[in-house]
């Protein structure tokens, strides 16, 4: 089969591209080297849909941040996923910071970002008493929101699949060859032919571009460490709290996540390896110090988990989106922050580029909308819960005790494509709570093994060599 478009990389950008392209009468293929989508940088970030006023005018990052912000609002509704406009407070901790806030306000105002307001000290303190005494003023932005980035990836991906996306997971692209008027994308699992190749390979976009003979840029990984805090702190902040940004970084934020936990981070550190996602003592301590500077009530002992993600920084520090000298090979590269925010706007832009390149974009007459991801069982009223459990008793069988996730929800996640323990975790939140899977891990594994009819020792945490358990040696008889 010859595809119209092959997307390399199934992060949020690849998934957003897939979602956008499957609205048209095209044969689209997504190739991802991991065993699931969204397992790269797209699951290891802050989950913030930036307000629209952060990135500089005249850059792709700036233009697409605001456009993306607007689109997520509608997209989340279409996809049936969580989106909460929590707003943000950017704090000035000294008088010298105040002009910076004013500059950000001007930047946003000029772009049409509504509602940016400077708050004085008293206003901020009345609003959020947990904020540091050292704060002198703040810039309030009502447009800033939070989502669950992995939930977004899965929802975009599931919708795209329901609308004809072909998928090759566990397929790493190893070569890209031009043949006459199309491309052959090579993987260990076989070759795929396509008219257009979209390079959305995140950290590896430079290498993928080089495979196509257009290696004109380098990607440098910049690590960010984040810490998740216990639910005990729920409500300590209602808005995302930003420090006054420096020219190189947005700084360390205090984020009320969609799930009611608090996340703090990220740090920013240049690293050399593209898989260097270790967490460090120094990084964690830096994040804590940064967060405590804004909200002193945050304590180290509330940490329940740490993780790190890598931003894909391209030469020139902006997104690289566009055609190359190799006709049909389009870069969607260097998608660093605010790449999550910008993803839907990036997809829209790429569609326009493909049209300009001569690809006919004929809308489909029918686009399958999946039923909204059902509200989590734990979030329903007792009456609704009782009704569901009368239909299916597995709803009232709790598998994850911290987040109250039911057996039925785990089964649904497995049937939706959750092939690994992390696949289940990121689809349901089972294992993300304060006990970190102590209660549910073995229960989820038992359900996965049963659904897939496979022995337990073949299960993995997230594919590859991440096996979970081994079989007991045979008892000598």
């Amino acid at each position: 089969m010859r595809y119209d478009v092959a997307i390399v990389g199934g992060g949020v950008v690849g998934c957003a591209l897939a979602y956008a392209l499957t609205r048209y009468q095209l044969n689209t293929l997504l190739i991802e080297k991991a065993c699931d989508v969204g397992f790269g940088t797209s699951k290891a970030n802050s989950g913030v849909i930036h307000g629209g006023h952060h990135s500089r005018a005249g850059t792709l990052r700036g233009d697409l941040e605001w456009a993306g912000n607007r689109q997520w609002l509608l997209l989340c509704r279409d996809l049936g996923i969580g989106f909460r406009q929590v707003g943000e407070l950017m704090l000035a901790l000294s008088d010298a910071d105040v002009p910076v806030l004013e500059e950000y306000k001007r930047q946003g105002d000029a772009r049409g970002v509504p509602g940016l307001t400077l708050w004085d000290r008293q206003q901020v303190r009345d609003d959020t008493p947990s904020i540091t005494e050292d704060m002198v003023a703040a810039l309030y932005a009502p447009t800033t929101a939070v989502i669950n980035p992995y939930e977004a990836c899965f929802a975009l991906f599931d919708h795209a699949r329901a609308n004809g996306l072909r998928v090759a997971l566990d397929h790493a692209v190893t070569g890209i060859a031009a043949v006459q008027d199309s491309w052959v994308v090579q993987t260990q699992g076989g070759d795929f032919e396509a008219d257009f190749v979209l390079n959305a390979a995140g950290l590896y976009a430079d290498e993928v571009a080089a495979m196509a003979g257009v290696g004109t840029f380098d990607i440098h990984p910049r690590k960010g460490e984040e810490l998740l805090l216990d639910k005990r702190l729920e409500g300590i902040v209602r808005h995302i709290i930003f420090p006054c940004p420096t020219p190189i970084s947005k700084g360390i934020l205090v984020i009320p996540t969609l799930d009611g936990t608090i996340m703090i981070g990220p740090s920013a550190q240049e690293v050399t390896a593209k898989d260097e996602v270790t967490t460090t003592m120094e990084g964690g301590s830096e994040v804590f110090a940064g967060a405590q500077r804004l909200v002193p009530g945050i304590q180290m002992r509330d940490c329940i988990a740490e993780f790190a993600g890598l931003r894909a920084i391209a030469d020139g520090d902006d997104f690289i989106i566009g055609t190359t000298v190799a006709h049909g090979f389009v870069n969607v590269a260097g998608i660093q922050s605010p790449g999550l925010t910008a993803a839907p706007a990036i997809a829209e832009r790429v569609c326009a580029i493909l049209r300009d390149e001569g690809l006919a974009l004929r809308p489909k007459t029918t686009f399958v909308s999946l039923p909204a991801v059902r509200a989590r069982f734990a979030g329903l009223t007792t009456e609704e819960q009782a009704r569901l459990s009368a239909q299916d008793a597995r709803y009232s069988h709790i598998i994850c005790r911290c987040e109250g996730i039911s057996e039925r929800e785990i089964i649904d996640a497995i049937r939706a494509g959750g092939n690994t323990l992390d696949g289940i975790k990121f689809r349901t939140r089972a294992g993300m709570g304060r006990c970190q899977g102590a209660f549910c891990a073995w229960r989820c594994m038992a359900l996965l093994a049963q659904e897939r009819q496979t022995p337990l020792h073949t299960l993995t945490k997230r594919g590859g060599g991440s096996w979970l358990v081994c079989a007991r040696p045979e008892e000598p008889s």
Binding site: V277, C303, A386, R394
Partner: protein, 430 residues
Amino acid sequence: MISDKPHHLRQQYDVVVTGAGPAGMAAAIGASEAGAAHVLIIDREREAGGILQQCIHQGFGMHHFGEELTGPEYAQRFLAQVEAHGIDIITDTFVDVARSDKTLKLMSAHEGVRVISAGAVVLATGARERTRGAIRLPGTRPSGIYTAGVAQRFVNMLGCLPGTRAVILGSGDIGLIMARRLALEGVEVVGVYEIMPHPNGLNRNIVHCLHDFDIPLHLSTTVVEVHGRDRLESVTVAPVDDQRVPIMAQAAQIPCDTLLLAIGLIPERELADGLRLRMDTVTGGPLVSSTMETSQDGIYACGNGVHIHDLVDFVTQESLLAGHSAGDSLFGRRPPVDNVRMIPGENVVSCVPHTISTDREHTVYLRVRRALDKCAIRFGEIYEKKLRYVFPAETVTVRLTPRFLARFPGGALRIDILPRQGARGDEEAA
């Protein structure tokens, strides 16, 4: 009646106990003895017994039964008493929320979603294990890092092994017992690492779990980093100085595919949080009075859900009291309100219960900050007692009688544990 099958659950109980560990079973028996006619115990696990089901070693019940039992044997004795008292037990059922009006929302595959109400509630929810996040262990995030309890579940419930070559962090009883268990199952146990200069488990367990299996114990040593992208490949261990700071110059990398964390327990607090009970930030459990009543009327708590116990016998003792009090409260039998607040002072980190009364005898449980030999515990000006030693991993248990308490007018009573200097009273081990 014990059941995981649909059966006739009452809508209204005199006392509902959440948790069927030793605490929950003792509390239910206590309530029944106090006259409560309808008592229900609920547990989310398949079997009653709580953590005891996992402790197949000897060492339970020396105080209570005067003989050494295994965990399941100890649980079995209580289960028999529970049955003899006609107490209902329902397992495989999750208590989702408990409310101040003493209604509880239950969920299970067999009962669906139900709300029942009680005259009094006892929280006996036990403890959960501390995880990697709690100690902020740096490195990658591979598979193969499990708490000891999870590894135990793999072996017991799934019939498989957590890995082939394991390092164990933490020398509490849980770590020691898992070291032996894995060794018996054919897993290579490289060693047990303990950040403190002394082991945290019972001496008996050191001998039976480590020495008998030639498993080395490394004191004043900790795991400082984990390595491996997909599966754990190795850990870096390093000795620590007396401030518990790792000495990286002496660090070593140890190949292993499994790291078991046995780094302590903390009270399970979901239900207490939902009730907005007042909590002790040190123990992590709710504040309790001398009758084990929490900050809310008719809501009692006991066992590891209040503070971590070393010995199950004390869990039983404390929980019988909680159950008796809950039962008594139904009949309006309430002792005088506590008139003494316990204030942890020098070298005391926590004290349970948090208040007592001068008219009765009380058993109080304390934890210390640092080890001391030949010391004395002082309760304000009223009572002083010699202790041979105190030790952070061991609870100090003291009985306070009205003979001394009668001297106290009431109010804040400060507790100090100090090096000994002319102490009065009888010498006794901690």
